[in-house]
């Protein structure tokens, strides 16, 4: 049958729509035509795997920042501008510092911190979290701004409020653990009673000891647990049917790595725990049961579903 296409480029010209009307007519009447057409049509609905151009450009820029060019780069902005800008920033900083009695705390990758509030309440901050409050009128106004994960041990007193991007927790004196993330908000009550509401002030739940609530993608989940203190304070993060996305975020905050999750389903749930002491062991305990393989390259961890 190939002999019919004496011209090496016949099929290529057909694909490109370059056949003469006579050639096309004859070809369409041949018995092979339909088979070729189906292959060509089928091939055109295939797509190459997604290429995230922006993300990879950012990655490229990262790598380039360490490279030197052969050419000399002429600065368009004169140097003195930078000194002026720096002065302005410092001046503004001092101004705000003097004017504001708010205190803020932040933890970096893998860091944990204990913050004692003016009334002796304690906040245990887990990695990659921030906490801010106003010192001056603390006694009358116990309000904290918070993101990340923390365990709160609150002294009895006036109302104590934790405000996060995802919702508000209000208590009178109790112990509870909060995690915030992107479209993720979890509160576990370890002692006493807490009231959880979302940002539009709708009441989500009133939790008593051993009860937990979670908002994930605007869906509410409730469950019970049995721990005196969150396990992460003792060097282990544990999860109960937690979306994989949040588990990975916790791993990233703990070990200062970045996961490539392009090929896996982040909505899968994970129940279990990982240690804070051994990264390899942590990777193994999280991903092996989920049947996900991983490979390391510098700070990047590439995840791949096994089927």
């Amino acid at each position: 049958m190939e002999e019919k296409y004496i011209d090496d480029a016949f099929l290529a010209r057909w694909v490109a729509g370059e056949l003469t009307p006579e050639e096309l007519d004859a070809f369409q009447n041949s018995k092979d035509y339909l088979e070729f057409k189906r292959i060509n049509d089928g091939a055109q609905i295939l797509e190459a795997p997604k290429f995230d151009q922006q993300a990879s450009f950012i990655r490229l820029q990262d790598e380039l920042s360490g490279e030197t060019q052969d050419a000399k780069i002429v600065k368009i902005i004169p140097r003195w501008i930078y000194s002026v800008a720096a002065t302005v920033v410092v001046a503004a900083g001092i101004f705000f510092f003097l004017n504001n009695s708010s205190s803020s705390f932040e933890t970096g990758f893998g860091e944990q911190k204990t913050v004692t509030l003016p009334d002796n309440s304690k906040v245990y901050l887990n990695a990659k979290s921030t906490l801010a409050f106003n010192k001056r009128d603390w006694e009358s106004n116990r309000i904290l701004k918070f993101s990340g994960e923390a365990f709160f041990d609150v002294e009895k007193g006036t109302s104590f409020k934790v405000v996060t991007n995802q919702g508000v927790i209000e208590v009178l004196g109790t112990e509870f653990n909060v995690i915030t993330g992107e479209k993720f908000f979890e509160v576990r009550c370890h002692e006493g009673k807490v009231r959880v509401s979302n940002n539009s002030d709708e009441n989500l739940a009133t939790l008593t000891q051993g009860k937990a609530v979670r908002m994930h993608d605007n869906k509410e989940e409730n469950w019970n647990f049995n721990q005196e203190k969150p396990t992460w304070i003792k060097g282990e993060s544990s999860f109960t049917k937690t979306p994989l996305k949040q588990v990975i975020k916790t791993l990233e905050g703990r070990y200062d790595v970045v996961f490539d999750t392009k090929t896996i389903d982040l909505n899968r749930r994970f129940t279990g725990s990982f240690t804070h002491k051994d990264f390899n062991l942590a990777l193994k305990t999280v991903f092996t049961p989920l049947n996900i393989s991983y490979s390391k390259k510098g700070k990047m961890i590439y995840l791949k579903g096994k089927n």
């Binding site: 090496d8 609905i45 290429f51 151009q53 450009f57 060019q69 780069i73």
Partner: protein, 170 residues
Amino acid sequence: MPLDTKSVCDKKVFESIYNDHSKTLRNFIYYKCGDVQQAEDVVQEAFIKLWKNCAKVFVEKAKSFLYTVANNTFLNEVAHKKVVLQHQKSIKNNSTSETPEFILEEKEFMMKLKNAIADLPEKQREVFLLSRIDNKKYSEIAEITGITIKAVEKRMSQALIVLRKKIGKI
């Protein structure tokens, strides 16, 4: 000689070169090796080399510089493994009201087609996919792969003939 004021060392120019060529370059290497990660690494490396040599490469030569560097990197570093092409799962739905049998049969056909494409010789595969997935003209494919248009057309035709033989009667 006209004085070209554009320079690859200019960040804006470099970025626009990146936006114009990175995707096809990634696909081109991907069609050769079937490994997204490796393909993206090769692309990164090619752009890093371009940046380092930006004073020596004219803007209009940047494209061929990239393809040459990427191709060399690929030949030097990438072990030739069996190619497993992962096409995105979301195949565009271009017909409606199909019977289940039709859908099943169509799925089977697409599976066969994918396997047959993965089995093509590398040279035919890259031409075929650059044309069919990236919608590149033969002249452009010739530029990318560094062969003549005639040779591109020949490889394209051969690819179709091989695919038809492999897939057989429908």
